[in-house]
């Protein structure tokens, strides 16, 4: 099993959600995070005091899936989240040793 993590532009969340749906992945966890990379932030000015805001709002999407689905998820999400502009984000996978569905206690692939 794999944990697939994607950092994407916030307005791309809907597209990614639909893509995951089509792959049969119905559950995900979404967090609002701040990204910092080559995409420039912006400057703010308050009564002459200037601030540089380097962080850009991003959305992090995490799903736990079986190994085969993980490859499909990475490809599909990459396509769905891409705009071609700096700041599109990244996707990575890490292996998952164990997963449990809290409501029922099911473990492993049954919990996916």
């Amino acid at each position: 099993m794999m944990l697939v993590t994607a950092i994407v532009k916030p307005f791309k969340l809907d597209d990614v959600k639909h893509t995951l749906h089509e792959l049969g992945v119905d559950g995900m966890t979404v967090s609002e995070v701040q990204g910092h990379g080559r995409q420039r932030g912006h400057t703010e000015v308050y009564r002459g005091a200037e601030y540089v805001v380097d962080f850009v709002p991003k959305v992090r999407i995490e799903v736990v899936v079986d190994d085969e689905t993980a490859v499909q998820v990475v490809d599909a999400v990459t396509a769905a989240a891409r705009t071609g502009q700096i700041g599109d984000g990244k996707i990575w996978t890490v292996p998952v040793q164990d997963v449990v569905r809290i409501r029922t206690g099911e473990r492993g692939p049954d919990a996916l």
């Binding site: 307005f11 701040q34 912006h42 400057t43 703010e44 000015v45 308050y46 005091a49 200037e50 601030y51 540089v52 805001v53 380097d54 962080f55």
Partner: protein, 406 residues
Amino acid sequence: MHVDTGDTAWLLASAALVLFMTPGLALFYGGMVRAKNVLAMMVQNLGAIAVVSVVWALVAYSLAFGPDAGGGFIGTLHLAGLAHATAPVPGLHLAVPPLAFAVFQMMFAVITAALLTGAGADRMRFSGFLVFAAIWVVVVYAPIAHWVFSPQGWLYQRGVLDFAGGNVVEVDSGASALALAVVLGRRHGWPRDVMAPHSLPLTVVGAGILWFGWFGFNAGSALASGQLAAQAFVSTQLAACTGLLGWILVEHRRTGHATTLGAASGAVAGLVAITPACGFVNSMAALLIGFLGGVTGVLAVSAKFRLGYDDSLDVVGVHGACGVVGTLALGLLAMHGAGAHLLGEQALAVAASIAWAFTLTYLVAQLVQRTVGLRVTPQIEVEGLDTVIHAEAAYDFGNVRATRLG
């Protein structure tokens, strides 16, 4: 001339109340836009206060209330720069200093222009809007004010009744908003994308301030402190209440929910509808007119989706439609002179206001768009007006944010 201190005190207080409505509008609208654009909405309203007040004092007051230039169409520039400030206002026999009248009317021009920020929400340039507002007050607002409010105006002369601005403010802003929305075009992603209000608490506070200020708007238009002001005041309150109830009643039947936004909007719709009528109808008629306003509003705001124009914050639906309903209802419910003839004159006033406001606003908006620029670029629209145009962010809840420069 005789100056009645009671009348003057009430008129000056009313002027302040009406001014307060524009910051109230900033909150009302601000809460309805997305967080990334809230400051732009609010500063456009502040900017409207600044620009329109100055233009009013320089020329627009004279065009609206100065001696008629001929035909009851427009005033001369005799009172430009608030000159002859102690001479009686042409055609009016008031017991207040003319300057008090001038500044009271100034606030009406301010809020009417400010209403247009609602039609252009999320996509209008700040500089473009300021230029637009300055021109609009002169070529759209002042003429209609002259026709209806000035005793020398052609519609006034025909017996059209408009106590506080059903035509001059509400129908005018509604028709102007439609033209502005059409020239600006739809927002990127409308109507598909989620564009829900980001802070309804702001909107409710704003609605409360509008309601409060409207007593100055309506009862102040009695231009005197006494029975007429009292009647207008009471009618205003009753209409706001039945407007609120009417809106949420219909809303609940249609969607299954009575919403906060619906309640706030319904109160405003009732207030809009009673604006032309408040001093001319009795209290029970006010209950009815307010209710008609609320019901009209809740139904009218769906029109934009069917007809395809992006009037972001429903200026056409709430101010335009409810203003028309109130103005026409007055033709049948006025305490003096109600009937088919008056109804006909009211309809003429509505038609003339819509025609003039829509056409001239369309032209002014096109002119500004092609010179200074009125709509922001798509990149700015997606990123948000606040950070790009104003270099500010409205909310700072986090720890991860910024570094100080310089």
